[in-house]
């Protein structure tokens, strides 16, 4: 029997943990600048980070077999929370997204990013792969239900990401290319119908995404200001705490969804490449885990979670750089926000559990 390190005992994957801690550190540094050098904001975020790390390590202790047994219930719990938030939720910025739990407020839609892949992985790993038509049909139903509930809040960005998360699990499970293509085509074709159900502000965002200069002081303002911030950063950036765009109040939402623009302005292209390298390191470590584990459930869940993580990064960066519409998706581990942080870390806890318990079984 090999000698166990502390990390091994704690079921922690050292390289994954290293990447996550580096990202959190970068997040705090940028947040200090974006939040107007307010130490209280940074302190609150670091407390959230510590809580998130504790949650991650706690979840890593649960064997994957146990997680698999709980999966469906976790999925149903997520749905129940989404219904609750629609009925009784706390309204912030015109949308019902929050549940007030007394001590803290909680965003059930974020939790669904974890619960949906778990439910789907449980469903698909139970039988042969690639899944049969009936199972694909049930999977689609399991995806659409939470997506519609989240879109009703309305929170288009998270709805999109939850949909992507489900889509990725199906993709990895080996649904045929032809069927994937057909599904994409159906979604494209139904776009005009979906347009009808969108809120005014959501439609305006899509129109201004297509042409931001139409409304420079209204809906296009976010995109234009963020592009100026990024572009003026140049190759090496203006330096930490020196971003004029972000510090003179021109850049909106600079601690949350648009924090990437602050990063780009102050650290330049070189800084961004470094940040991307850390992100890619974490993603590839995650994918390696997905490929190397034996259990099908673990494979599907690990790859689904890590691809969702990537989707968040891509959608946020695309939105801030003006390549995608402004849909309100935070930059993982960097943007301020407790629920998103805890859910992300919980997902990495699941990854670590899948990875570390495997060794024990094989011995």
């Amino acid at each position: 029997m090999e000698e166990k390190t502390i990390a091994g005992r704690l079921h922690v994957d050292v390289s994954l943990l290293f990447g996550l801690v580096v990202l959190c550190g970068i997040g705090l540094v940028v947040l200090y600048s974006a939040g107007g050098q307010n130490l209280q904001i940074v302190l609150r975020q670091s407390i959230h980070m510590v809580i998130a790390l504790v949650v991650m390590i706690a979840i890593a202790q649960v064997p994957p077999a146990q997680l698999e047994r709980w999966s469906l219930w976790i999925y149903f719990a997520g749905l129940l929370l989404l219904v609750t938030v629609l009925v009784t939720g706390y309204t912030g910025k015109g949308a019902q997204r929050w549940l007030d739990l007394g001590l803290f407020r909680f965003q059930p839609s974020e939790f669904m990013k974890l619960a949906l892949p778990m439910g789907l992985a449980w469903l698909l790993a139970g039988r042969t792969l690639p899944p049969a038509t009936g199972r694909i049909f049930v999977s689609c139903f399991m995806i659409i239900l939470p997506v519609v509930l989240i879109a009703r809040q309305p929170d288009l960005g998270t709805a999109l990401l939850v949909a992507i998360a489900g889509f990725f699990v199906l993709f990895v499970a080996g649904v045929s290319w032809r069927l994937m293509g057909a599904m994409t085509a159906i979604i494209m074709a139904s776009a005009p119908v979906l347009w009808h159900f969108l809120h005014d502000y959501q439609r305006r965002r899509i129109v201004t995404f297509l042409n931001p200069e139409l409304d420079p002081l209204g809906a296009g303002y976010h995109t234009i200001q963020s592009k100026i911030a990024i572009g003026s950063g140049g190759l090496y950036g203006k330096g930490w705490l020196n971003g004029t765009q972000s510090h003179l109040d021109f850049l909106p939402e600079r601690s949350t969804d648009f924090i990437f623009a602050v990063f780009c302005e102050e650290f330049g292209l070189m800084g961004v490449l470094l940040l991307m390298a850390v992100y890619l390191f974490v993603i590839f470590r995650g994918l390696t885990i997905a490929v190397s584990v034996r259990q099908l459930y673990g494979k599907l869940l690990a790859s689904g979670l890590i691809l969702t993580f990537f989707a968040c990064i891509f959608v946020n960066m695309g939105m801030v750089t003006g390549q995608l519409p402004v849909v309100g998706v935070p930059l993982p581990l960097i943007s301020i926000g407790g629920t998103s942080l805890v859910t992300l870390m919980a997902a990495f806890g699941v990854l670590m559990s899948i990875n570390t318990h495997r060794r024990m079984l094989s011995e």
Partner: protein, 619 residues
């Protein structure tokens, strides 16, 4: 063990997943390259373009707060003023070491620990390039000392801002109230855009009641700022609309007489014009100096004000609930006549005590051996308790409640400054609801002399007194006279001259009761006869002495035996001149002893001052 009826080829499935994961990896790399390409485009190729845009991106819109309207009295005395005061402010961005800086500054101007604590608090709320005040109200000496050494303190400025001053300090504190820094509670009820840039908001008194008019409308300027956020030039300006000046009905010279009369005493004086409800004087003693509240009073002073047994922060005129004592008698007299319980000439024998049929308890008169035969006029004039014990018993609590409510007791008068309490006119329903007990006949008996659970506020007393003077017309007391636009001079009338007529009463009844009230002051058997000597006008009044301390059946009340805070309250209500009323007053001196000795002489001073062309009474 049941056999799996489907076949799982684990190796094949793993390969499938692996293929898909590899596809995903390629997709990830592709999309990341797309983002990088976009960033290269923005940050390298178009960099110059965006640098120019960011340089030009400097137009900001700043609010210009309006100047707050002033508050004047009816005789033109300034009650609330804006005076420039100097504050010492620091721009954190330009200071290297704040602790060191503050230490060096404290050698030039006085900096207390509270100042530093407040500075730290404000520092967290503001941005690095916004100036944060360290000290308010610098003296001219301190400003001069700083000016000499200014070059040693980059990033520190002396800034002149208008601050609210209340020149009459405690004398008008309960009328004018004060403004204070806007806090979170205020933010909820205020229009945020209109208050952008405003620091203060009315918290109490007229400052709060007429906040909307006093504040005005915010203006805006479009400015060009440099990269540090400092204003370089103004591009466009929409001037603010200054707040309106408010003119109150208060007569400051009368107010000062009232303040002086209550000097070193606890009590309340309210004087109104019975014809229209204009408040002429409103004093709650002791008052407090509102000036320290403007920029945040220090905790020690505030705690002392709150803890003081003299409760200077309570506005006794609106919030003081007192047993009315014998001042209730004229009102019940009108009621007894109106309900036909007593004829005007009907007499009652007063032996010095009263008891209910079959009851043991003796309700005693203030005059030990009795008043003899009494009719209503005598009973008011000499304040005979026995007459009123039986009157109240015959009226019954239901009709007493009805009549007193019609005079406006037990509900708010609706005066235009906030904080008023409704007082209490008891009824058997009230007692059942609150105490779940039946009403006892004895309670009705003592209600006849204004004792028991009945509680009135001075503002209710004076409004009811005005109703006596008006023979049943109930006015709405108010402080606001008019608002004037300081630029155009345009006048908006604010007077609330509404009134209502009381329900039951016929003109003949008022004459009997008000005639008796004149006898209280001007007949040689009246309880307030000493205060009516030598007046060129006639006063109608009623004394009252409210007991706070229950004494046993066979004991006698002696002021010296009772601690001060349990001694009787002295009350007096009056109006003058009796035939053409111009002023009505209600006076309460807490623990002041008897109404005739303590409260009535104050009314005489007020009337002499107001009616005899501000000539003070020698006596």
């Amino acid at each position: 063990m049941p056999i799996d009826f489907f076949f799982k080829d684990i190796v094949e499935e793993s390969r499938l997943v692996r293929r898909r994961v590899i596809c995903s990896t390629l997709l990830i790399l592709l999309l990341m390259l797309l983002v990088i390409a976009r960033l290269v485009h923005l940050q390298v190729i178009d960099h110059e373009h965006f640098i120019t845009l960011s340089q030009n991106n400097r137009v900001k819109i700043l609010p210009i707060p309006p100047i707050r309207g002033l508050i004047y009295s009816r005789d033109g005395v300034l009650l609330a003023d804006n005076q420039p005061a100097f504050s010492l402010e620091i721009i954190p961005e330009q200071a290297d070491n704040l602790d060191e800086l503050i230490r060096r500054l404290s050698r030039i101007v006085s900096v207390q620990d509270e100042d530093i604590a407040r500075f730290r608090r404000l520092l967290n709320e503001k941005r690095r390039f916004e100036s944060v005040p360290l000290r308010f109200n610098l003296s001219e000496y301190e400003v001069a000392r700083f000016a000499v050494d200014r070059h040693l303190f980059p990033g520190v400025e002396v800034i002149a801002r208008p601050y609210r001053r209340y020149p009459l300090r405690a004398d008008t504190s309960h009328v004018v109230g004060y403004v204070g820094r806007i806090d979170e509670n205020d933010m909820e009820r205020l229009d945020k855009s209109n208050y952008a840039g405003t620091i203060h908001v009315g918290k109490f008194g007229a400052e709060r009641a007429y906040e909307k008019l006093l504040h005005g409308r915010v203006g805006h300027q479009q400015v060009e700022v440099n990269a540090q956020g400092r204003i370089i030039r103004v591009l466009e300006r929409t001037p603010p609309e200054p707040g309106k000046n408010i003119h109150l009905t208060l007569d400051v010279s009368l107010q000062k007489v009232a303040v002086e009369a209550l000097q070193d005493k606890r009590g309340a004086i309210i004087a109104i014009d019975p014809n229209n409800g204009e408040v002429l004087a409103l004093v709650s003693s002791p008052g407090y100096d509102p000036n320290p509240f403007v920029n945040g009073i220090d905790a020690g002073t505030y705690r002392a004000l709150l803890a003081s047994s003299d409760t200077p922060l309570i506005n006794r005129v609106l919030q003081g609930k007192y047993p009315p004592g014998s001042t209730i008698k004229p009102f019940l007299g009108v009621a007894a006549l109106a309900y036909g319980v007593r004829g005007s000439d009907e007499t009652i024998w007063c032996p010095g005590w009263y008891s209910l049929k079959g009851g043991e308890h003796r309700y005693r008169d203030w005059k030990k051996h009795g008043h003899g035969y009494m009719n209503l006029t005598h009973a008011i004039m000499e304040s005979c308790d026995v007459y009123y014990y039986s009157l109240a018993h015959e009226l019954g609590i239901k009709r007493i409640h009805e009549a007193l409510s019609d005079f406006g007791f037990g509900r708010k008068t609706g005066i235009d400054i906030s904080g008023e309490l409704p007082g209490l006119v008891p009824s058997s329903e009230w007692k059942r609801k609150v105490y779940n007990q039946p009403w006892f006949p004895g309670e009705t008996v003592i209600a006849g002399i204004g004792q028991g659970s009945i509680l009135v506020t001075p503002i209710q007393l004076v409004t009811a007194t005005a109703s006596l003077a008006n023979h049943g017309k109930v006015v709405s007391p108010h402080l606001a006279h008019e608002a004037r636009n300081p630029i155009t001079g345009e006048v908006t009338v604010l007077e609330n001259n509404n009134f209502r007529r009381m329900a039951l009463y016929e003109p003949a009844y008022w004459k009997i009761v008000t005639g008796a009230m004149v006898d209280v002051v001007h007949s040689d058997r009246g309880t307030a006869r000493r205060s009516g000597l030598g007046t060129p006008y006639r006063i109608a009044g009623k004394t009252g002495t409210a007991q706070l301390f229950g004494i046993a059946q066979d004991e006698e009340y002696k002021a010296g035996d009772v601690p001060e805070e349990l001694q009787d309250h002295a009350l007096f209500i009056a109006y003058a001149p009796a035939d053409t009323p111009k002023i009505a007053v209600a006076i309460i001196v807490e623990n002041g002893g008897s109404g005739s000795k303590t409260a009535a002489p104050i009314a005489r001073r007020l009337f002499d001052h107001y009616l005899l062309n501000n000539r003070t009474n020698a006596g």
